[in-house]
């Protein structure tokens, strides 16, 4: 086995979705980290590696987006006479050599300036701050749902391995993966909002709730926190009821991943000798699963959880579009529809940064929990 495949064996099933815990010891990083040995050095090396990752993504996205031409022609092409178009392209500097534009863009990004959106002329960084928090709220809810589904059910599946509960749960997990998040969303809407009429169709809060939220002086990024601060039970219920369906839709997808991961790893640890010896000492089966085998089996789950935060940003785009949850993903879809590529590029860049930082944090947490990770 080469070193590139070995971590996957530690973590459990390598496919699908491709086991992100491999990233903990990616081949490009391992040699540098191995020379270090100490935790501090490992974290340092890993931290420095954030920058090339972001740099590569920023560069790739920049040049890919410019292959299509400049954002102004993309947005306004056909709607403006050619001379006016050329004038605006010139004013925005899109007729300069590509390499000059690239260096200019990089220097702006370093200073935190992602440009202004084309359609509504707002700084991209403000758009990100405003809508990013909505997405963060959704992702947190969905992670709660995913953990509530994935960990207990994964334990059941591993405990009753190869018997009917395991079969049912595995099919459930595969179905969770096979169903596009927007289709789950549509079905949930159809059942709970239309037929049963117990949950709202879309949005983050009702119009009346919105008005009430407007009274708060310094709103926090999270609606639920604001609602709790106002202390109005009806408002809290309103905010929560809007979050239920999107959180379930996105959480089922991630929950299926967690279920499979917990199952595979728990099966692995249940066969370990220390579990066997505990069993021989007369420890009950339930206790064996809950305390002895679960904890070591959760290490890869933590790693994957971090990766899932990054990955669910992709799922969030679809969930938010389905439920008109006004977050980063919803906004991204809107900007794409109006061909505002400055905004699209800014949001994609921002997500690249979030992904890189999340991966770093995940690696650090994994190294803190499991000393084998850093060798």
């Amino acid at each position: 086995m080469s070193d590139a495949l070995a971590p996957a064996d530690l973590a459990g099933e390598p496919v699908p979705p491709p086991d992100p815990s491999q990233d903990a010891v990616v081949p490009g990083i391992a040699p540098a980290a191995r020379r270090g040995g100490s935790l501090g050095r490992y974290i340092g090396v890993r931290f420095l590696l954030i920058f090339p990752t972001i740099f590569i993504l920023v560069t790739t996205v920049f040049f890919l987006m410019r292959l299509t031409g400049d954002p102004i022609t993309a947005a306004m092409g056909g709607r403006l006479p050619p001379d006016q178009l050329a004038e605006r392209v010139h004013a925005a500097g899109y007729d300069r050599p590509l390499i000059v534009q690239y260096i200019d863009y990089l220097s702006k990004v370093v200073r935190g300036d992602f440009g202004n959106t084309f359609t509504d002329n707002r700084p991209v960084i403000n758009v990100l701050a405003h809508y990013g928090s909505a997405t963060a709220e959704l992702v947190i809810y969905s992670l709660i749902v995913a953990l509530a589904i994935g960990v207990p059910l994964g334990m059941v599946a591993a405990h009753r391995r190869d018997r009917w509960p395991d079969a049912v749960l595995r099919v459930f997990a595969i179905l969770g993966y096979a169903t596009p998040v927007f289709f789950i969303g549509l079905m949930l809407k159809l059942v709970f909002s239309i037929y049963l009429g117990i949950l709202p169709v879309s949005g983050r809060v009702s119009t009346a709730g919105e008005v009430m939220m407007g009274t708060i002086t310094n709103p926090s990024p999270f609606y639920l926190l604001d609602a709790l601060r106002l202390g109005n039970p009806a408002l809290i219920a309103d905010v929560l009821s809007h979050a239920i369906l999107p959180a379930i839709a996105l959480g089922l997808l991630t929950g299926g991943v967690f279920l499979r991961l917990v199952r595979t790893n728990l099966i692995g640890t249940l066969e370990r000798q220390y579990v066997e010896s505990a069993r021989s000492r007369g420890v009950g089966e339930t206790r064996l699963v809950r305390t002895h085998a679960l904890r070591p089996a959760l290490i890869p789950v933590i790693t994957v959880m971090g990766m899932q935060i990054a990955m669910s940003l992709g799922g969030a785009v679809l969930t938010e579009t389905t439920f008109e949850w006004k977050g980063l993903g919803f906004q991204l879809a809107q900007y794409m529809a109006s061909r505002d590529y400055v905004a699209v590029q800014g949001i994609v860049m921002m997500i690249a940064v979030i992904v890189a930082v999340t991966n770093f944090l995940v690696d650090v947490v994994a190294a803190l929990i499991d000393p084998r990770v850093r060798y």
Binding site: M1, S2, A4, L5, E13, P14, V15, P16, P17, P18, Q22, D23, P27, G28, P52, T53, I56, L57, V61, L64, M65, L67, T68, A74, D162, R170, V171, I174, L175, A178, T179, P180, F182, F183, L186, M187, K189, L190, S193, I194, Y195, I267, G268, A310, L313, G314, V317, L318, T321, T322, A333, M336, R339, Y341, V344, V348, A352, V355, A356, N359
Partner: protein, 330 residues
């Protein structure tokens, strides 16, 4: 890994040693059920795609026939078994034609990513050094990025959003390819590094075999072990990516080809009005296609992973004894 059951007995005829058939033969119980369900669903998908012109009552972009216009958002009836959409298309026909689009995109995406990923992985693993370092870094950066967003960027680049049938299928396939290349790259590179140190490669070098022959003749042919696996899993993921692109409005024009993700997007407002047939049928088509391919990939993964193999101790002695000819051909 002493308990690895060989993929197939060398003495078996060649057709029993093909990846999928060999897997069916050595599966049993629940695993066999999953594998066969998956294979059946996949076969249905492929056959529907193949015979779409015969199966579909109308064309994918037809809004009227000799009897006049279909009408919009009509509930299921004898003339339109699954009803009509908000644009007046026949839902059943669009679902059936949609299999063609899905299969075409999967095929194109897999061919592209196999070709690119395998080639780059071989070269990177064999050469090593800074070329390898840079490529690994690049692949990791792409791999870490949410795949749907990458596909969106690619589809903007390739088609500026929307396009014709083949243009749309190709751009969707290329967008998906970019997502998959790092996976093939990783696996093939790892295998190449392992194989590079094997004595038979060394001896080929010693007798002066040319670079190309070592790479493709000696290393590539031994490194393809895991490919069928990634292959099926990627096929299912490419259906999801295609549907996601379509759902966000970055897919294929509805008049050029039928695409399930686009139909689901259009059904968003239908659902609010309680119209279920425009959403349920394309959605179920996606779920069943992905489910079929995933079940095949999953089962093959489990069968190839000794830790997950469900065969209990003591029954290992007779690996394929329970396979009857009917089950093998199923």
């Amino acid at each position: 890994m002493t308990d690895v059951v060989p993929l197939a007995d060398r003495r078996d005829p060649w057709y029993l040693r093909l990846p999928v058939i060999a897997d069916v033969r050595r599966s049993h119980g629940l695993q066999r059920g999953m594998l066969i369900t998956g294979l059946t669903l996949t076969a249905i998908l492929l056959l529907t795609a193949l015979f779409a012109p015969l199966l579909a009552p109308y064309s994918w972009a037809q809004t009227q026939d000799a009897a006049g216009p279909f009408g919009t958002q009509q509930p299921p009836s004898a003339a339109h078994l699954w009803g009509t959409t908000v644009s007046g298309f026949d839902v059943l026909s669009r679902v059936i034609w949609g299999t063609r689009t899905a299969v075409a995109v999967i095929a194109a995406a897999i061919v592209f990513s196999l070709f690119l990923g395998v080639l780059v992985g071989l070269v990177s693993g064999y050469l090593g050094g800074w070329v390898d370092r840079v490529l690994v870094m690049l692949a990791d950066a792409i791999y870490a990025f949410p795949s749907l967003l990458l596909a969106i960027v690619m589809s903007i680049v390739i088609s500026g959003g929307r396009s014709s049938a083949w243009g749309g299928i190709l751009s969707a396939a290329i967008s998906i390819t970019v997502v998959f290349v790092p996976q093939y790259f990783r696996v093939i590179r790892a295998e190449t590094i392992r194989l590079k140190a094997e004595p038979f490669v060394e001896s080929a070098k010693v007798i002066g075999a040319p670079f190309g022959r070592i790479l493709f003749g000696h290393i590539f042919r031994n490194a393809t072990r895991t490919l069928p696996l990634i292959f099926t899993l990627n096929a299912s993921e490419s259906i999801l990516t295609l549907a996601g692109l379509g759902f966000l409005g970055f897919g294929i024009e509805p008049t050029s080809a039928a695409e399930w993700g686009y139909d689901l997007n259009r059904s968003l407002s239908d659902v609010t009005a309680g119209i279920w047939w425009t959403a349920v049928f394309p959605g179920v088509a996606i779920v069943l296609s992905v489910l079929g391919l995933t079940l095949v990939g999953e089962s093959m993964n489990d069968l190839n992973d000794p830790r997950l193999r469900t065969r209990r101790r003591g029954r290992r002695a007779a690996p394929a004894a329970s396979a009857t000819p009917q089950e093998v051909t199923a």
